[in-house]
Each structure stands twice: as structure tokens, then as C-alpha cells.
């Protein structure tokens, strides 16, 4: 006891902090874009500061109406949504939501999209230097808008140009969100890394369709939508595992997390952080349960730092 003022370190609590391309998070559990609004919606139910990071709903350069309704349908083990990226636009976001979010310490990651290369670039530029934004998640994988969206995420050349353009437009940490709808995810992971992305995230929801056999019509007004939830989890684990081995930049894993178990799979497969999406609807406290469960797992396994777990898959 040399220095009486020193705190006794809690040797049993493993360190959960991670760094995702320059974004420092207290723990690796984020909430996924489009499933947590812009923050205020869940603020009564969840301590936002307890999240690793908060990724807001996708925004573009101007307000966007999204798709007609119905926009969501439940299926066994998940849901199919075709919201179509309704949002207030980047200025609306900055004016209406960012002040609220600045009241919290949680890193805020803005999910952005555009209908053209220019739009992508503009929205990134507009966010650059705005206080209260920790990073940009670049959505090149939304199955629910006709323009841009998925096309950017499934064609290597288009992915390359949009990532390069946005990279030049911002100094913020940049996280392209890859589409699962490709034959070889490693190609797109490598493109992101080569173009200067700070991290990658995956997977977005998976293109899908539900038909009402009574009316013989698609249930969703947009006809097709994106499948998310437990149903896609084993697909996501495989893609995260492949992507994590293909690049050195951090990987954020998501798809079907409902509790610590699925999050641990992603981390073991090589993800440095994870995001909870659909499960927020089922149980808004999922991210907190996941965080606590990971901590307990580390303690049980005698691990002192989350880093020991990440990518620890024995094959």
C-alpha cells in the first residue's frame, strides 16, 4: 500500500472496452441501425450510456418518405421489413436529434445512404466536423430502396467507388456495412479495407418476400423486404467469420442476436463488436443483457480482456 489513494483494482471484472476504427466503446455491444430510431425513442427504457455505441436509422442528404405500408411482417424466427429508409434527412437529423444525443456519452454512429455517388458524398461531407458524431456507417446494402442501396453493395466496382468517394469526403471513422447478398463476402471486405475504411459491419437484412396466400398478394407494399432476426444468425456467423479473416480492420457482427450466446459466436468468429437489431423490438433491454452475459462469460472463462475472446475460434 504505497499510494493510499490508489483504487483497489477490481481484478475480477474483465475489461470490455473495444476500439472500432478509432471509436472507443465501453463495451462491444451496439444497437443496429433502423432498430433503435435516433435515440429518444428508447431512452425511457434503456440507459443509452450503457450501450457500446448507438447507430441511428439510415439518413440521406434530404428527407425521405420511404415505402408505403404494410412495411413489416413477422415470419418464423424473424421479420421481413421494407421501411424503405424513411428519414428526416441529414439536416433534420442534426437539428432535431443530435442535440438530444449530445446529452449522452454514448458514441453516436450515423448510418448514411444515397441514391447516387454524389448523394453519398454530400451527406458524408455534411456530417464531417459536426460535434457529437463518432463515426459513419455507410449503408451500401439496404434491400428496400430501388435506387442505390443494394446495387452499391453487390457489385465490386460500385462498392469500391462509393467507399472511396465517402472516404475522401470525411475524416470521421468510416464503417461500410456490407451486403450479405454476395457470393464471396471477402471480396467486399477487402475492397473496404483497401479504400481506407476503418472498420466494416455486417450483415444487413437478407432480401426476402412473404406472400399472403389468401389474397395472393405480397404482404409488403414494397413486395420484397429484408429478413432479419434469429433466422439469419447462422448465415451471419459464417460471413463474419470469413470477413474477419480477410481483413485487418475491425469487424462489427450482427444478425439475429437475441442474447449473449449469439453475440459470443460473433466475437469468437472474429467480430470486435456486435450490434443488436430486431431483438430490440422483442426486448428493449437485449443489448444490456448481452453486455452482462459477455462479461459473465469472460469471467467464467478466466479471461481478463475481451481481446482474448475476439477471434478465438479454434478450427
Amino acid at each position: 500500500m504505497v499510494k493510499s489513494s490508489s483504487k483497489t483494482p477490481d481484478t475480477t471484472a474483465p475489461s470490455m472496452a473495444v476500439d472500432i476504427g478509432g471509436i472507443r466503446m465501453r463495451n462491444p455491444v451496439m444497437v443496429a441501425s433502423g432498430t433503435f430510431g435516433y435515440g429518444p425513442e428508447y431512452a425511457d427504457l434503456v440507459d443509452l450510456n450503457a450501450l457500446g455505441a448507438l447507430v441511428v436509422k439510415g439518413i440521406r442528404i434530404a428527407p425521405w418518405d420511404g415505402n408505403p405500408t404494410p412495411r413489416m411482417v413477422e415470419v418464423p424466427g424473424g421479420l421481413v421489413n421494407a421501411i424503405g429508409l424513411q428519414g428526416p434527412g441529414v439536416d433534420g437529423f442534426i437539428a432535431d436529434y443530435l442535440p438530444f444525443l449530445r446529452g449522452y456519452e454514448v458514441p453516436v454512429i450515423v448510418n448514411i445512404w444515397g441514391r447516387s455517388l454524389d448523394e453519398y458524398r454530400e451527406v458524408a461531407q455534411r456530417l464531417d466536423g459536426v460535434p457529437g458524431i463518432a463515426g459513419i456507417e455507410l449503408n451500401i446494402s439496404c434491400p428496400n430502396v430501388k435506387e442505390g442501396g443494394l446495387a452499391f453493395g453487390t457489385q465490386p466496382d460500385m462498392a469500391r467507388s462509393v467507399i472511396a468517394a465517402v472516404r475522401r469526403a470525411t475524416r470521421l471513422p468510416l464503417i461500410p456495412k456490407l451486403s450479405p447478398n454476395v457470393s464471396d463476402i471477402r471480396v467486399f471486405a477487402a475492397i473496404a479495407e483497401a479504400e481506407g475504411a476503418d472498420a466494416i459491419s455486417l450483415i444487413n437484412s437478407y432480401p426476402a418476400m412473404v406472400i399472403d396466400v389468401r389474397t395472393r398478394r405480397p404482404v409488403l407494399a414494397n413486395r420484397v423486404g429484408g429478413l432479419s432476426g434469429p433466422a439469419i444468425h447462422p448465415i451471419a456467423v459464417k460471413l463474419v467469420w470469413e470477413a474477419a479473416r480477410a481483413v485487418k480492420i475491425p469487424v462489427v457482427g450482427m444478425g439475429g442476436i437475441t442474447g449473449p450466446q449469439e453475440a459470443l459466436e460473433f466475437l469468437i468468429a472474429g467480430a470486435r463488436a456486435v450490434a443488436v437489431g430486431t431483438a430490440n423490438f422483442t426486448d428493449p433491454t437485449t443489448a444490456l443483457r448481452v453486455r452482462d452475459g459477455i462479461r459473465d462469460y469472460l469471467a467464467e472463462q478466466g479471461m481478463h480482456d475481451i481481446g482474448e475472446l475476439i477471434g478465438s475460434l479454434a478450427t
Binding site: E41, Y42, L45, D65, P70, L79, P230, T282, P284
Partner: protein, 259 residues
């Protein structure tokens, strides 16, 4: 708004296929007002990722009550819930019905389970008014006594004529609107299928009255985050846009709705 884990105090047949579910959710119960709803996670509905929304039929310090009818996978599974089962609620959600203007008489219109929030509204209403209840069959006409015992004028219609007047609820409304007794300053409140809401809204608007419609949209999050439950509305400036039924509603003034 909170997440509350509660127990089932009672679960019983209410009338015909309708069930009454009494939950000891006192936190939500104390806060809830008529027109608000809870988002209920159905126990043992494996593979389900979504909760189901139900209007408050009653709310108070002992907890809440909802009335429901089995109509699909989720509500069917609810039938097997028993007293003592634990379940998770989010609530109270949405905005309640606005209070009826001082000099106005409330006119209520209900279809099916839509009578549940209106019965709760009547309970807290400063004075009784008139309620039109429509249903397919006598079984679908709920809560008549709730209103009668508080002095409300209850007008029942059923499509098969098994109770009250035969026909749709609009038949009774239109007859009433023709009659001199309908004169005066009215404030309308309605909950039921879209067709009913639209019809009520048109009639109210024609007379320059407010009509507060409680909308029923498929919901994801229930709190305003997912944008699944949106309804097209006309803004004050004449432009159109979306509102979220779960957070901005479920109650909207009829003239704002773009059907």
C-alpha cells in the same frame, strides 16, 4: 413508458370469443390513460420476434386489463396463458384520447375490440354521451353495461341483426344524424376497423366536429423507432407526411388522416 414484468392475475372469457386479461402491472397501471396501449410479449410464442399491441381497457394502481379476441398466431397462443404466468409489457404507449371540450357531448363509435378503450374513456368522462357499438354478431357487441350503468345512451347494431338494429354501425349513426337529437356541439371518438373510422371521420367533418380516431396498424417496436406503423397524414401546411401510430398516435384527428 417502462418495461414491466408482471403476472397474470386473471384470464377469463369475457364474451363469446373475447377474453379479458388482468395483469398486476401497477407501474403501467398508474400511468395509463384511455387511448393508450401496452405492447405485450406473448409467453411461449417461440420464434416470434414481435410483441402485440393491446389497448388499455382498464388501468389503475392494481394493474391493467385488456380485452382481446384470438385472430391469429399470437392471440391464439395467448389463449393458453394462465393465472400466475409472468409476462413482459411495455407501456403505457402512445397518447390517450384528448379530453372532450367543456361544452361538448362525447359521441363514441366502436367496432369489435375497439369498444375497450372507449369504455375506459367513458369511465373517466366528465359526463355521459352517446355510444354506437357495431359488430358482426351479438357476440361482438361488448361492454354495453359498462356504458349503460354510467348513463350513456347505447345504440347497438349488428350486421346479422342478432342484437340491436340490423346493419352496419353507420346505419345507426346516419339515422341519428338525421334526427333532431343529434344537434348540438359534439366531439367524436372512434375505435374500430379502418372503414368505420373513415366513415366516422367523414360524418364528423361534414358537421365541423372533431373526431378522434384510434388507429390500428401493424406494429414493430411500439415506441417510435422502427417506422413500421406509419400513417399518411396531411400537415397543417397542406403537405403530406407520415406519422407513427405508436408514438404520435394511436389517436389522430380525422381531418388529418389521408386514407
Amino acid at each position: 413508458m417502462k418495461v414491466e414484468t408482471c403476472n397474470i392475475s386473471r384470464h377469463e372469457t369475457f364474451q363469446g370469443p373475447y377474453r379479458r386479461l388482468i395483469l398486476d402491472a401497477s407501474g403501467i397501471g398508474c400511468a395509463g390513460v384511455p387511448g393508450q396501449f401496452v405492447h405485450l410479449r406473448i409467453p411461449r410464442l417461440d420464434g416470434a420476434v414481435l410483441r402485440r399491441p393491446f389497448s388499455l381497457y382498464r388501468a389503475g394502481k392494481d394493474g391493467i386489463e385488456v380485452l382481446y379476441k384470438p385472430v391469429g398466431r399470437g392471440t391464439d397462443a395467448m389463449l393458453s396463458m394462465v393465472q400466475g404466468d409472468s409476462l413482459s409489457l411495455i407501456g403505457p404507449l402512445g397518447n390517450g384520447f384528448p379530453v372532450c371540450g367543456k361544452k361538448r357531448t362525447p359521441v363514441l363509435v366502436a367496432g369489435g375490440y375497439g369498444v375497450a378503450p372507449l369504455s375506459f374513456l367513458a369511465l373517466t368522462s366528465a359526463r355521459p354521451g352517446i355510444i354506437f357499438i357495431g359488430g358482426a354478431r351479438a357476440d361482438d357487441v361488448l361492454c354495453v353495461d359498462d356504458f349503460k350503468s354510467r348513463g350513456w345512451d347505447v345504440r347497438v347494431t349488428t350486421e346479422d341483426g342478432s342484437l340491436g338494429a340490423k346493419g352496419r354501425v353507420t346505419v345507426a349513426i346516419d339515422a341519428w344524424l338525421q334526427s333532431p337529437e343529434s344537434r348540438g356541439d359534439r366531439e367524436w371518438y372512434a375505435c374500430g376497423p379502418d372503414g368505420l373510422l373513415k366513415a366516422v371521420g367523414e360524418r364528423a367533418a361534414a358537421n365541423g366536429w372533431n373526431a378522434w380516431l384510434s388507429l390500428d396498424k401493424h406494429m414493430g417496436c411500439g415506441v417510435g423507432a422502427c417506422l413500421a406503423c406509419v400513417q399518411r397524414v396531411r400537415n397543417a401546411d397542406g403537405t403530406e407526411g407520415w406519422v407513427r401510430v405508436c408514438r404520435d398516435g394511436p389517436v389522430f384527428e380525422a381531418r388529418s388522416i389521408v386514407w
